[in-house]
């Protein structure tokens, strides 16, 4: 490379100065904001492997905040949503948290992963100013003892599998013990509900005939399919995947003429499965804590959500599940804030936790089909849905199930 001229120096110097200015402005962001805004911070994966959920989740939270503000806000105060993209990396999520917390002091925060929420847990306790929910349904985050300022806006993974097992038990009542196989990914996400699933299956009299662990996203599952062919389960529950290798299992096992029923959990239960698997996805079942955007459900909040989309994005005919989940998370944030403010209290984490735990028999306005309680920091409620391929959508296969 040729030597450095003064022109080069100006270029480098100018670039460095511009970067410095950008950094400076970023370190101390000042926007025209009301002092009493209730801030919802967010670390969302707009890029990376979970971008599909991050983008939809961001849209859901953003739309909820805009809708809420358009309808008077919370106890006369406006909500404000501040987010950063994380690429689904824990260190980046933490950086975003620090940055947003330093600048905006948010009482509420939406996290993007189990890793991040665990990494920030001790700091949340130390701060005592913020409560957190997010995209993770990890069972341990629903433990108020260890994670006092976390909550899950839905059933934890263990509870989701519990709901599936309850459904299996109900279906088989009176007959012989149903045979179950668990297929899960070799990740923290995949292994999360397995121990509790085994214990619950045993308690419900469900026979666990097979247990298969795969790499997430693996495609060659021929050996595992043969294993399942030998054990002939009535039900296979998949957990810890978004799509692959579920599609491979379904296609290959259907080709073998097996009558096994396939089931999934929250992150599997979206349109991606129907679109990617096609006809063989017909009959695929799973647990969903919320009503689908294109379901026949109705209710004040659910209708408002769809009306808002119709008004602001008329071309959009479907919203993915993370959109509904984030909207609902926003609802919970707003409800906590309302209870604290109307109780004349400070917005401290302790008070917000008490407000969260005071939510009992709360009507979600059509988002969830049963009134909910937040005493355990999760919502152990869900419904079994099934793919109806002719309509390219999920339809209810059971009534709402609440775990006790």
């Amino acid at each position: 490379m040729r030597g450095l001229s003064r022109r080069d120096l100006l270029k480098y110097g100018g670039g460095a100065a511009a970067l410095g200015l950008a950094l400076k402005s970023g370190l101390d962001p000042r926007m025209a904001l009301a002092a009493d805004d209730i801030v919802i911070g967010g670390s969302l994966p707009m890029t990376g492997v979970f971008a599909f959920a991050g983008i939809a989740g961001h849209q859901g939270l953003n739309d909820f905040v805009e809708w809420k503000n358009a309808n008077g806000g919370v106890a006369g105060r406006q909500l404000r949503y501040v987010m950063e993209d994380t690429g689904y990396k824990v260190d980046v999520s933490v950086a975003a948290f620090k940055k947003i917390t330093a600048a905006h002091k948010p009482p509420f925060y939406f996290g993007d992963s189990t890793g991040f929420e665990k990494a920030i847990a001790s700091e949340l306790v130390q701060m005592g100013t913020t409560v957190m929910s997010g995209a993770s349904f990890a069972s341990e985050l629903a433990d108020p003892g260890r994670y006092p300022y976390h909550f899950i806006a839905g059933p934890s993974y263990a509870e989701q599998v519990g709901i599936l097992l309850q459904y299996i038990k109900n279906e088989a009542s009176g007959g012989s013990a149903p045979k179950l196989a668990l297929v899960y990914s070799d990740t923290e996400f995949g292994r999360d509900p397995i121990a509790s699933a085994k214990a619950r299956a045993k308690a419900l009299g469900i026979e666990l005939v097979d247990e298969i662990v795969t790499k997430p996203g693996s495609v060659d599952v021929s050996a595992e399919v043969l294993k399942l062919r030998r054990s002939r389960p009535d039900y296979v529950i998949f957990h810890g995947y978004v799509l692959s290798p579920i599609n491979e299992f379904i296609v290959q096992m259907k080709q073998m003429g097996l009558k096994t029923k396939f089931m999934g959990t929250y992150y599997t239960m979206d349109k991606l499965l129907i679109d990617q698997v096609g006809e063989p996805s017909d009959g695929f079942m799973g647990v969903m804590p919320y009503n689908y955007y294109d379901s026949d459900a109705s209710g004040a909040n659910f209708d408002a959500m769809r009306a808002w989309t119709k008004q602001h994005a008329p071309d959009v005919t479907y919203r993915p599940v993370p959109y509904v989940a984030s909207w609902f998370t926003g609802m919970l944030f707003a409800e906590i804030a309302r209870r604290v403010i109307e109780g004349g209290q400070e917005m401290t984490a302790r008070n917000m936790k008490a407000a969260l735990e005071s939510i009992e028999n709360w009507d979600t306005g059509g988002i969830i089909g049963l009134p909910i309680s937040m005493k355990t920091h999760s919502v152990p409620v869900g419904r079994i849905y099934q793919v109806r391929f002719s309509e390219k959508r999920y339809v209810p296969a059971s009534d709402w199930i609440a775990l006790t």
């Binding site: 450095l4 690429g87 990494a119």
Partner: protein, 347 residues
């Protein structure tokens, strides 16, 4: 204009800070490090800690790859071993960080020696795959040795503590992390003034010639692996204290690639290169995020539209570096210094 430095002894020639200007700059750096916590906010302190942890690990990898020529894709695994060592000893027996951190380095170094054994037989890509395999094995152990590692859920780490002094937040952790980073970088810089460092460089430049000169390849290669792993282990230990949790997913393969990219962008075979590379790889994505943040108030869809672009820009920056400055940021810095030394003449 300065036209040279007259050296009248070997000792003077070997000095790290051989001119008053260099000494002044280093003093300024130390002052900046000391003053920074007083003026930084939580976010900038956090970033400084993260950069320092990455600097330690990148410097370790630079010792192995940049100076000794042994390519490694196992740096994240070595960090993981350090992280878990700290987590186990601190959470189970309350051992203070003054002991757990060196222990993390030593355990990691022992594993590094094992991983380094194939280096006597294989080089280049083959060695990279061998270290990759070690990385996979380490990950498997983290995930499945439940009684020790806590399995897939990992371990919670208590705050770093010494004689009742608890380093419970980033601001107090800053002193520990930055202190270790300065010592680690100075140690590495000094290493290459010794016969050990020169042996490493000889192995990198031509291992057969090095052996002819009497350098025991097995011994010195394993030494390089051990030293590099030691650095990674200490960085991993600090990582554990900093994030207060370790899981198998805390140390993914992409982390190893991150450090490899850092030393390439910064400059292989240069301590400054490792430092600058770690700073670049950590801070540039953050800087690019500011663009999205600043645009969002005017364009609410910015997070959706610009976030993927940011990844492209970051990748492009790395590619442009490799094309236009293969010797990395350290070489740019050296050229900048030469420019000022020789001004008004061309470099």
């Amino acid at each position: 204009m300065r036209i040279g430095d007259a050296k009248t002894s070997y000792i003077a020639d070997e000095m790290i800070f051989d001119t008053p200007v260099r000494r002044a700059w280093f003093a300024a750096l130390i002052v900046a490090i000391l003053v920074f916590p007083l003026i930084g906010n939580d976010y900038t302190i956090y970033l400084a800690c993260l950069v320092a942890i990455n600097v330690i690990s990148a410097t370790g990898l630079n010792i192995l790859t940049g100076f000794t020529g042994q390519i490694s894709l196992g740096q994240a695994a070595f960090m993981g071993i350090g992280g878990y060592t700290v987590a186990v000893f601190a959470s189970r027996w309350g051992v203070p960080f003054i002991l757990t951190l060196p222990l993390a380095g030593l355990v990691s170094a022992a594993f590094g020696v094992l991983v380094g054994l194939p280096s006597l037989r294989v080089k280049g890509l083959y060695l990279a795959i061998a270290t990759l395999a070690a990385s996979v094995i380490a990950h498997f152990v983290f995930a499945h040795w439940d009684p020790v590692t806590g399995g897939i859920g990992g371990l919670q780490v208590p705050p770093a503590e010494l004689f009742g002094l608890v380093l419970g937040d980033d601001r107090s952790m800053y002193w520990l992390i930055m202190g270790v980073a300065v010592i680690a970088c100075m140690g590495a810089r000094n290493l290459f003034r010794t016969r050990v460092g020169r042996a490493f460089i000889a192995i990198r430049d031509r291992d057969i010639s090095a052996e002819v000169l009497g350098i025991d390849l097995l011994r010195w290669k394993l030494y390089a692996f051990a030293l590099s792993s030691f650095y990674a282990g200490v960085a991993g230990g600090l990582f554990a204290y900093f994030f207060r949790v370790v899981t198998p997913e805390s140390f993914p393969l992409t982390m190893s690639i991150f450090f490899l990219a850092a030393i390439i962008v910064g400059g292989m075979g240069s301590i400054l290169g490792g430092i600058l590379g770690a700073i670049f790889m950590t801070l540039v994505p953050e800087a690019l995020r500011f663009v999205t943040t600043m645009v969002t108030p005017f364009y609410p869809q910015a997070p959706v539209v610009l976030s993927p672009m940011r990844e492209v820009v970051f990748g492009l920056l790395i590619v442009l570096f490799l094309i236009f400055e293969p010797h990395g940021l350290a070489e740019m810095w050296r050229r900048l210094r030469r420019f000022f030394h020789l001004w008004p003449f061309r470099t």
